[in-house]
């Protein structure tokens, strides 16, 4: 595939395989990394990317195959060994001690000591400042790290990696939880590190990032290495085609729906702080997308509607009548469902079965005098599992063992089982592979056809534009714009989301964000 380079590559993995009980996670994978390049790994969830980087981090060891660094075979059998070899991995879940300061985190494990054997705080601070300066991170070493944004914490981790003279840096979905501005800074930093001769492995689902950064792109599918190509020789479409294994011509599902009456209406709804006043009308049988930057108050708005947070201002009306929603139970009783942002933390019971996860919101109808009717339960669960195509070995299987897409379908099934009138979806396809995404879009479409009012929050703009009948744009806790399916474009939505266009209220938008977006606009 790729011509052998004369000096040995920084890292080379040859014919590597790894199995876990029940799964062959990686089969015969060959991969190499050169100094001074960004090598992107692309693939759906479960394609084997994580297994590969866990091998580099010393968490897993390969069953077969070899790993070479600078042409010398190595065994990476522990995280310590991995660090000794100059490998640093920035995982999706950050690896910091949240209650300690930045300086303490940077010195972790190699704290400087005074002649008395006590901690040399002054030196620790100086070292930290130097380390942060090297990557241009503007953080005080005395800040408690848990108070920093995820982006800044990531910077600190990278500063630690650089200070430890890492030569191979692995970044696993580094921008997933970052704001636009933070993401821009991270991308710039990656470019600088590449200039300095470091080899970077970059995992991301965001095609634009990959296209901006990567020198080479390797595609994985089902634990197999598909191919590696220079970025210049490939197109996003061809990458996706290889990831999915077939032509991807119709991901988004949108057939215009015939909206009915207004089911839910908010007037001046707000939490008295960051969100509101917001006036929204949701009609039966329409899909309303909510776009906006992270921190625009979209999640908070949905949580107000659902009673997960108490509203401090305004009112909610359903079918014209004012209603009180003080807690989620009130919302459920009124026929409102919420698929929250992070399914593992906020929606799923990982150690309970698919069956219990699906029925948890509808137990009233599935029991008589509090005694469960297992006949009814089995029937309902079977229907939901079938109609949503949840892939599980049985309804008794623990949800922990399902893939991300199937877990999300279980959460959807929970709400479909109670036949809601309004369904709030907060990032319903985050961390879900493309095949499952398509299935979720079909479910949303079907719900709208059945007359459910769907409100979908998403940071994936093509998704919002692709499947919504109507698009709301939020900024600073308020509505900044509203578009029909046909008139919305990514550019206009971004302009409203960032405050460049809209009702003129640009105050309060951090300059960094606006600048970042402008820059992105230029890049396109």
């Amino acid at each position: 595939m790729n011509a052998p380079t004369s000096p040995p590559p920084l890292l080379r993995m040859a014919r590597v395989s790894k199995s876990f009980p029940g799964v062959k996670a990686l089969t015969d994978v060959t991969f190499d990394l050169r100094p001074g390049e960004v090598h992107a790994l692309m693939g759906e969830n479960g394609a084997g990317k994580s297994t590969l980087i866990k091998m580099l981090a010393g968490i897993h060891t390969p069953d077969e195959g070899s790993i070479e660094i600078d042409g010398r075979p190595v065994t990476i059998d522990s995280p310590n060994r991995s660090a000794e070899l100059g490998i640093a991995v920035i995982h999706q879940e950050l690896n910091t001690a949240p209650n300690m300061t930045v300086a303490q985190n940077l010195a972790l494990g190699q704290e400087p000591r005074t002649a008395w054997g006590t901690l040399d705080r002054a030196r620790m601070r100086r070292d930290a400042e130097a380390k942060l300066r090297r990557i241009g991170a503007d953080v005080s070493p005395d800040t408690v790290i848990g108070r920093l944004s995820v982006g800044m914490q990531q910077m600190v981790e990278i500063a630690r990696a650089v200070a430890q003279q890492a030569r191979i840096l692995v970044l696993d979905e580094p921008t997933a939880a970052l704001s636009e501005a933070e993401a821009q800074r991270l991308l710039e930093l990656v470019e600088e590190l590449r200039e300095s001769g470091m080899g970077l492995i970059y995992i991301s689902h965001r095609m634009e990032e990959v296209y901006r950064l990567a020198d080479r792109v390797s595609v994985f599918r089902d634990g197999h290495w598909i191919d590696t190509s220079d970025r210049a020789d490939t197109t996003p479409e061809s990458i996706v085609t290889r990831m999915v294994g077939r032509q991807l011509d119709d991901l988004y599902v949108h057939e215009p729906h015939e909206p009915g009456d207004v089911v839910l209406e908010t007037r001046g709804l707000g939490d008295g702080a960051q969100v509101g006043p917001v006036d929204v009308r949701l009609r039966a049988g329409e899909v309303v997308g909510v776009a906006g930057l992270i921190g625009a108050g979209r999640t908070e708005f949905a949580r107000l509607l659902f009673g997960a947070e108490r509203a401090r201002a305004g009112e909610i009306r359903m079918a014209g009548e004012p209603v009180r929603i003080r807690n989620p139970l009130d919302a459920v009783k009124l026929g409102i469902g919420l698929v929250p942002e992070s399914r593992k933390e906020q929606a799923l019971f990982l150690d309970l079965a698919v069956r219990e996860n699906i029925t948890v919101s509808g137990l009233g109808a599935l029991s008589d005098l509090g005694v469960l009717r297992f006949g009814r339960i089995a029937e309902l669960v079977r229907r939901q599992v079938e109609s949503l195509n949840v892939r599980c070995s049985s309804p008794q299987q623990h949800v922990r063992n399902l893939s991300g897409g199937n877990q999300q379908k279980v959460v959807l099934a929970r709400w479909l089982a109670v036949q809601p009138r309004v369904l709030l979806l907060d990032e319903p396809t985050r961390g879900v592979d493309i095949g499952a995404k398509h299935e979720i879009y079909k479910i949303i479409d079907r719900l709208a056809k059945e007359g459910v009012a769907v409100l979908m929050i998403s940071s994936d703009l093509p998704e919002v534009l692709g499947i919504s009948d109507r698009i709301l744009v939020m900024r600073n806790g308020r509505l900044a714009g509203e578009f029909d399916h046909d008139e919305a474009t990514e550019e206009t939505v971004m302009l409203y989301a960032t405050g460049v266009a809209g009702d003129g209220e640009t105050d309060g938008v951090p300059d960094g964000r606006r600048a970042a977006v402008t820059k992105q606009g230029e890049a396109q």
């Binding site: 876990f20 009980p21 799964v23 077939r246 991901l251 219990e356 469960l372």
Partner: protein, 342 residues
């Protein structure tokens, strides 16, 4: 609409539990299988093993009457542990059950000495336990106080209550109307054992067959997800502590019936034995995982252990050492399970 992307997930290997995965080495497979067996039946195996061992060592161990002895002696701990199981399933703890037992035992005897009919004494004792459970539950659920602190406080003030009710002296009542609960027989089976089994059947039914039970598991598994699913988390939590309190009340009544008096010193450190039985029985201190059947086995293991050590004439001090070691072992098993899962 094209169906082109529909089945993209299908080629991904879908592991099916129970079926031999092709890629796995036989050794790993055996390990997983063993782990599953241990998870389900391990603790029952431990009990059987202990019984066999004791039967060999102490010839008078394996008799029906000694079996009844063990179960009767273990019944009070088992009843406390039954309620404790629910509390621990919701990620909580109830340290007050031993003191609550003393208060309720004393109250039931006080009711008798003041002329109440036996049935009122029994129900009164249980009710008092439930009320103190309600207090615990309300503080934990509605004020969000840590269960450990709330029930640690209750452990102390309930002990004080028990002492002050009797001026610190035991309350002897030779004519106690419900003493049958202590030494009576039903079809040849000691009454405390029958009561214990009734408690377990009831709680098994509640956990496995009712909406309440599903909600308990849900809250223990993920409290935030439970709230966002529309479960009345606070009210359900309160009910859990009420049940634990009622179990303590019932255990107190049985205790008084057994010793035919109200003892303000009753049940000291029983809460720890109850917790040990729960954890031995496979309920996770992290909440959400566990069954009341396991707790019963856990309580019986502790009973067999006490009885066996006694039959072997192990001095009391050494008995404490062995029991303590068993409690530590129980927690070690619990953490081992979590370690395995990750």
């Amino acid at each position: 609409m094209t169906e082109s992307v529909r089945s993209t997930e299908a080629p991904a290997p879908a592991p099916e539990p129970g079926r031999e995965p092709e890629g796995a080495t036989p050794k790993r497979f055996d390990g997983a299988r063993l782990a599953l067996l241990w998870d389900r039946y391990g603790i029952l195996g431990v009990l059987v093993l202990m019984v066999v061992l004791m039967a060999v060592i102490a010839p008078n161990f394996l008799t029906l009457s000694n079996g009844f002895n063990i179960a009767r002696a273990a019944s009070i701990n088992a009843i406390l542990a039954a309620g404790m199981t629910l509390v621990i399933l919701t990620r909580g703890i109830d340290l007050s059950v031993g003191s609550n037992l003393a208060v309720c035992g004393v109250v039931s005897v006080l009711l008798w000495t003041s002329g109440a009919p036996a049935i009122v004494c029994v129900l009164g004792g249980i009710l008092v336990g439930a009320v103190f459970g309600m207090v615990n539950g309300t503080l934990v659920a509605y004020l969000g106080l840590p269960a450990f602190i709330v029930t640690l406080g209750a452990l102390t003030y309930l002990r004080g209550t028990a002492y002050s009710l009797t001026d610190g002296r035991p309350l002897i009542a030779d004519d106690l109307g419900f003493r049958l609960l202590g030494d009576g027989l039903i079809l040849g089976v000691p009454v405390p054992i029958v009561v214990m089994l009734l408690v377990y059947v009831t709680l098994w039914f509640l956990l496995a067959r009712t909406r309440f039970g599903n909600e308990v598991y849900a809250i223990g598994g993920n409290p935030e997800a439970a709230r966002l699913s529309g479960i009345k988390v606070k009210w359900t939590l309160t009910k859990v502590y009420v049940i634990a309190g009622a179990c303590a009340g019932l255990a107190g009544v049985l205790f008084s019936a057994r010793v035919v008096s109200g003892q303000p010193t009753a049940g000291e450190s029983y809460e720890l034995d109850a917790i040990a039985a729960v954890v031995l029985g496979g309920t996770s201190l992290m909440g959400g995982v566990g069954r009341v059947q396991g707790t019963l086995i856990g309580a019986m293991i502790m009973g067999v252990l006490s009885n066996g050590l006694l039959l072997m004439n192990v001095p009391f001090f050494y008995q404490l050492i062995v029991k303590g070691a068993v409690i530590v072992l129980a927690v070690a098993i619990d953490s081992l399970k979590h370690w395995k899962r990750t």
